[in-house]
Assembly symmetry: none
Amino acid sequence: MLQVLQAEFADVTISKLRFLEAEGLVTPARTASGYRKFSAADIERLRYVLTAQRDQYLPLKVIKEHLGAMDRGLRPTPGGRPAAPAAVEPAGLPVAEDFGADRTELKLTREELRVAAGISVELLEQLESHQLVVARGNHYDGDAILVAKAAAEFGRYGVEPRHLRPFRTAADREVGLIEQVAGPRRDDKTQELAALAVRLHAALVRSRLSR
Amino acid sequence: MLQVLQAEFADVTISKLRFLEAEGLVTPARTASGYRKFSAADIERLRYVLTAQRDQYLPLKVIKEHLGAMDRGLRPTPGGRPAAPAAVEPAGLPVAEDFGADRTELKLTREELRVAAGISVELLEQLESHQLVVARGNHYDGDAILVAKAAAEFGRYGVEPRHLRPFRTAADREVGLIEQVAGPRRDDKTQELAALAVRLHAALVRSRLSR
DNA sequence: TTGCGGCCTCAACCGCCGGTCGAGGGTTGA
DNA sequence: TCAACCCTCGACCGGCGGTTGAGGCCGCAA
């Protein structure tokens, strides 16, 4: 069992396997007396974990997400078996909706958002009425915090939410463009285009300002 | 400077930049009195570092190796995006660091701009006809390079300059707002508001995209 | 049945990575 | 002159990815 993997990955230890189990990356069956019993599938899974870690430098948290996605029937690794060249390989995600688990995956209540952004109830109301921040279901994502903070800062210059509506409109138009180009699926391409859009925008604002 | 990057990467701080310099990932020039002075090339480099870190989870050590490789004229660009590796900048061109000029103070001829951005004559013509890049007198500033590069990248996704007009419009509107608030003088306040505008914009695009 | 190696759990600990903080001090511009 | 930056340098920090060790159960051979 253990030696099988050790043959391939020099640095796998029992303690590491235990650790990976504790982290929820594998769940080997147990014998009646509690010993771990690794099935062939478990070994395959571990192989995936170890190569992803070694060849793509992925953090376990991310690997776990990928495994989860694969379990839910989504497509497996992009390169299939990377195996040999440790050189340079795209990160590649197994799933569409992968979006960094950070900001977008955050779910905040209205009050949490308000406190996190350090804004007043009134300001939040105004932001919502102009759709600068919008709830999904009854939660807000982390980007809403950034929006709210920026709006608050604008507020200190006397700029009110209603003056910011054009930002919303512009953003919507850009999202439209991005979706038209990248399709409705959220993937790397979408991400890249979004980054690009923001970069273009920043450069334009600066260049027009300096004339 | 810092603001520019902060617009794109919410979590970049001065201390982080100092840290990255200490690790040898960037080596900004210094003013006579020792202040860091980031050239356009430095910023491009940082952009690479930050996206590699965020989107591909690469450890700094690995990113540093990649940068080193790129400096030596190789391109191990892992499907990620170095955008414009130093190699692409033709030698002899007055790109920012040569004159220690700030990007906006840079003065490029039309041809210099074209080569620095690595775009075709046709594309540049189109960009001008849609006023995405505009000459001041008969020179272009460094931001024009960034705009042109972004447009070129969009081009690779089939997005043509005319599709980018709304960006120009949005930028103009924002500049209008900024000038209305900060006055026509270009000062710190203007800069701050511009950074803010770009930040708000970035957050909005991201948040609307993730719904 | 005793002994001994190997597995178990759980908590404590560890080293490295990627920064942040703060003290002490210079620079800049109003 | 003063506030608001910026600088350096060293201490500190939290999280990640494990390792170690104490205390205990299992299984097999002598």
